[in-house]
């Protein structure tokens, strides 16, 4: 039994540690979004939820032994000025995959835009209801009469 558990950890958790953590973070965020009563807490949950997805994407782009996806000065010089073929100068394995990074730049921007708009709406709600607790707001609406 103990042996089996160790094997499971070695095969499934250690090499995919990032993927496990992203699921955990995502579930923390999702749980907060569904169950929290305070509107700002819900939004913090939403931000955690979104960063978890970003973590997943960035993890896709990583390669063992890879560096940042920017050419060094020497490589750039060799290709652009000396005209050496780029396949010769660049080894693919040395560079992280740039595409997920680009996608996630966009996703971060979308995330902060959503957060900003949601905070503005939260303030609108606070101005009208004078509270940020969802149950108190619903209570006020119920006492206020019509549906």
């Amino acid at each position: 039994m103990e042996f089996l558990a160790a094997g499971f950890i070695e095969d499934h958790i250690v090499p995919k540690f990032n993927y496990w953590i992203y699921v955990i973070l995502m579930m923390i965020g999702l749980y907060a979004m569904i169950t929290k009563n305070n509107l700002i807490k819900k939004l913090i949950g939403m931000a955690v939820f979104q960063t978890a997805i970003i973590l997943f994407y960035v993890s896709i782009g990583v390669k063992e032994e890879s560096g940042i996806p920017i050419l060094s000065h020497g490589q750039h010089h060799a290709i652009v000025d000396e005209g050496r073929p780029s396949e010769e100068v660049i080894t693919k394995e040395k560079f992280a995959n740039p595409l997920p990074h680009v996608l996630m730049l966009t996703a971060i921007v979308v995330g902060v835009s959503t957060l900003g708009l949601a905070l503005a709406i939260t303030q609108r709600i606070y101005i009208s209801f004078n509270t940020l607790e969802e149950d108190e707001i619903l209570d006020q609406l119920r006492r206020g009469g019509h549906d």
Binding site: M46, A120, I137
Partner: protein, 509 residues
């Protein structure tokens, strides 16, 4: 020039929106005029696009952004792809946006004043987002555009009263969960295929025979969950009724016909072009059955909930929930008639929902009452508006000359062909309930006693203050209603042509 039509359809309203913000709310009429010109120009381009498509031999147009050609079989840039289905939906989107802008003028002056410029800008950006969603062929670009439409709709809905702000907040939470699930699903596809172009993903899935992989299945489930949240399929519909009914009148009238329909279009796009019919319908027979049952529940529950409502807009929003059930069910019947019905219903539902929401907005505005009692005696006092409402209502019920009849016809024949009798029964049941709902209203409107406008002022949050005198409705509101009513009939009469175009666009099952 013709080859640039697809991107111009997007760019014209985009520049219109920027110009409206630059003009500022002090020059409200100029903003309105800008929006009108931009969306009108975009409508003309969309119709030109349909003509170009009919003239072309391949039956689809492709437009490569940045001029990046494919590299050893894979797209490195972003590509637009327009087939007949996309062209028709885009045309529907921009035309609805255009007509609604005509309609909006009177309301915006009354409701928004200093924020008019922002309303017109957000309105046009929403249209840009919807058109982009329909035309793009890149799975990630689709996400960005979905977020554009979501953010604009959060802001537009929250411009209403305090209930609207709360509904908008709930919509943000649900909408973000939906969009994030979609994004995650795309990530799963990317990790397995290494590309983001919808056609290329399909090719890799096919050539690598990746169908059986757990992660592909889960990617499919995640994408569908995300899209169903966005389109408000029954158990996930919680955000829709409040959001659309508390939104300012002019916002609800174009968001209701467009948003859910475009999401249904995205679902069809993902099902048929990204995963492909052979995967969805063969290996997925088990879940196909499950989804059809979900749609049956959506149809029945949506109809019942609509029947129980006394608030006009709430009732109409629950009808939308039922209509989403029609389309989802039709898409999963796995035969040509069901799919054609589902695609055709996107267009016809957009037309009839638009017609009903416009009529309802006029009625609420003029009577100052947002409950069904508002309709008492209206055939006498506002016959023109009621004619528009009747056309929309008859189409919802499904009577012959209207488009609602034909879309139900195709869906039912699809259901019979698939031997799915419970789906057929649900459709007929829903027609029956719609008949009860609408004839109840027609009865009020014919035989009910017209009450004075101001004899029952509801303690409302300010959305319904009667702006216009009882005598007449301005032409800027009646003409859009008539165009919408006419389009309900036109889409119905030309159903043969439309369906043959749609069938040509369908990939082989």
């Amino acid at each position: 020039m013709t080859e640039h039509y697809p991107v111009l359809i997007l760019l014209v309203p985009l520049f219109g929106a920027l110009l409206a913000t630059l003009l500022g709310s002090e020059r409200q009429v100029a903003c309105w005029f800008t929006a009108l010109i931009a969306l009108g120009g975009s409508s003309i381009l969309a119709i030109g696009n349909i003509c170009a498509l009919l003239a072309s031999a391949e039956g689809e147009l492709r437009y490569r952004m940045g001029g990046w050609n494919e590299n050893s079989g894979y797209e490195v840039g972003i590509e637009l792809r327009i087939d007949m289905l996309a062209a028709l939906v885009v045309a529907a989107v921009v035309i609805v946006g255009f007509i609604n802008t005509i309609f909006a003028k009177t309301r915006v002056t009354g409701e928004m004043r200093e924020k008019a410029a922002f309303f017109y800008a957000l309105n046009q950006l929403l249209i840009v987002g919807l058109c982009g969603i329909v035309m793009t062929n890149d799975a990630f670009n689709l996400y960005v555009l979905i977020e554009i439409t979501s953010l604009t709709s959060y802001a537009l809905i929250a411009m209403g009263n305090r209930r609207a702000a709360l509904s908008s907040f709930n919509y943000i939470i649900m909408g973000t969960i939906g969009a994030s699930f979609y994004l995650l699903g795309v990530g799963y596809l990317y990790i397995k295929t290494g590309t983001l172009n919808i056609d290329d993903i399909h090719t890799v899935l096919q050539s690598g025979n990746l169908w059986g992989d757990t992660s592909i299945t889960i990617a499919f489930i995640l994408i569908m969950l995300g899209l169903w949240t966005k389109m408000a399929l029954f158990p996930l519909h919680g955000w829709l009724p409040n959001a659309y009914s508390y939104a300012p009148g002019v916002v609800g009238s174009f968001m209701a016909p467009l948003m859910t329909k475009v999401m249904v279009y995205v679902m069809l796009r993902i099902m048929l072009w990204l995963f492909g019919g052979e995967y969805i319908y063969s290996s997925g027979l088990v879940w196909g059955e499950l989804v059809i049952w979900m749609s049956i529940i959506a149809i029945v529950a949506g109809s019942f909930l609509a029947l129980a409502r006394t608030d006009i807009k709430k009732m109409l929003t629950y009808l939308i929930v039922a209509e989403v059930g029609y389309m989802v069910g039709g898409a999963w019947l796995a035969n040509g008639a069901g799919l054609a019905g589902s695609m055709y219903h996107i267009l016809s539902d957009a037309a009839m929902t638009f017609c009903l929401f416009l009529a309802a907005a006029i009625v609420i505005l003029r009577t100052g009452d947002h409950r069904l009692t508002a309709f008492n005696g209206l055939f006498r006092s506002m016959p023109l508006t009621m004619i528009g409402f009747t056309v929309g209502g008859l189409s919802m019920i499904g009577l012959p000359p209207t488009c609602g009849f034909f879309s139900k016809w195709y869906l039912i024949s699809g259901g019979i062909e698939a031997g799915h009798w419970s789906y057929v029964a649900a459709l007929l049941f829903s027609s029956l309930v719609n008949a009860v709902i609408f004839f109840r209203i027609f009865e009020r409107a014919y035989f009910g006693n017209l009450k004075g406008v101001a004899d029952e002022q509801l303690p409302d949050d300010g959305d319904c203050a009667p702006l216009l005198t009882l005598e007449r409705v301005p032409f800027s509101m009646l003409i859009p209603l008539f165009i919408a009513g006419a389009s309900v009939l036109l889409v119905g009469i030309y159903n043969n042509t439309l369906v043959s175009w749609l069938k040509a666009a369908m990939p082989p099952l």
